[in-house]
């Protein structure tokens, strides 16, 4: 009986350790967006704009978006069938869910999540030529290309960096 108890408590400690560890992963804000990678996604989506993290749209949104690459927000971004499928599978496997990550326009910048996260950004900043477009993530998220979206790595052109609270 003693043996079983000892074993149980070892498992208990392990469970506690694991739960602490997984919490720290969840709260690593930058990591939530960046943990994934797929070379084809990175190359194909990332050649004209930042390769936007899959969780920023729902699986249904990604499906519609990848079906319409010949008219991709006014640009022709068509891919061959095989590459399209591989990228869509990756996006859908890691997609977000719920209305917060959904936009009928299929623009991430029109999702409720985007609006909430960027609510403090002024119109002056959005129209700054150094920002130019809401698709230009790296204008402010300076390390986004490396997958780092952490708040500490935000530098807003024309705005002095706020001291960390």
């Amino acid at each position: 009986m003693k043996f079983i108890t000892a074993n149980f408590s070892a498992l208990g400690y392990l469970a506690i350790f694991l739960s602490i560890f997984s919490c720290s992963v969840v709260y690593a804000e930058g990591g939530k967006l960046s943990a994934l990678n797929n070379p084809k996604w990175k190359e194909e989506c990332g050649s004209c704009h930042t390769a936007y993290p899959p969780r920023l749209l729902t699986a249904e949104n990604w499906q519609r978006l990848m079906e319409g690459l010949n008219k991709h927000f006014g640009a022709n971004a068509v891919l061959d069938t095989k590459d399209n499928k591989e990228i869509l599978d990756f996006l859908q496997r890691n997609a977000g869910s719920g209305i917060n990550h959904s936009a009928s326009s299929l623009r991430i910048s029109n999702t409720p999540w985007f609006a909430r996260e960027h609510r403090e950004i002024s119109n002056t900043t959005w129209s700054n030529p150094l920002v130019k477009s809401r698709s230009n993530c790296i204008a402010c998220h300076v390390n986004a290309e490396r997958g780092d979206w952490s708040e500490h790595d935000i530098r807003i052109p024309g705005v002095k960096k706020r001291d960390d609270d």
Partner: protein, 118 residues
């Protein structure tokens, strides 16, 4: 990645000569193609709005501001090393900027210009 600028030029030239016997790639024509204002797309009237006029420095996507690697294979060793990739971009950018698919002759001229200069 077995392709080279030269192999792509000769491949497109061979295809072009089927309809234009005696076709010889011309960097001069390629340059005219590169700088021509097609006037099809409002945001992208010609190649240089994204790729710039200096082929040896980075370009910048006119809509998203995304950096584009230099066109010239002299400074960008990856340029024109994959037929699949070259075809993908010709297909996208020709339909967008030129308003139709490009011909094999135009592709041969264009790569000749970008890789050899005029």
């Amino acid at each position: 990645m077995a392709d080279t600028p030269a192999s792509l030029v000769s491949g497109y030239a061979a295809e072009a000569s089927k309809t234009q016997p005696g076709f010889i790639p011309s960097a001069q024509r390629g340059q005219e193609f590169f700088t021509k204002e097609w006037g099809v797309s409002k945001k992208m009237p010609d190649c240089t709005v994204c790729h710039g006029k200096n082929l040896k420095v980075d370009g910048k996507h006119v809509v998203t501001d995304k950096r584009i690697d230099p066109f010239s294979p002299e400074v960008n060793k990856e340029r024109f090393t994959s037929l699949k990739k070259v075809e993908k971009w010709f297909n996208r950018n020709c339909t967008e900027v030129v308003g139709r698919e490009c011909t094999a002759a135009e592709k041969a001229d264009f790569i000749q210009f970008v890789s050899k200069g005029v």
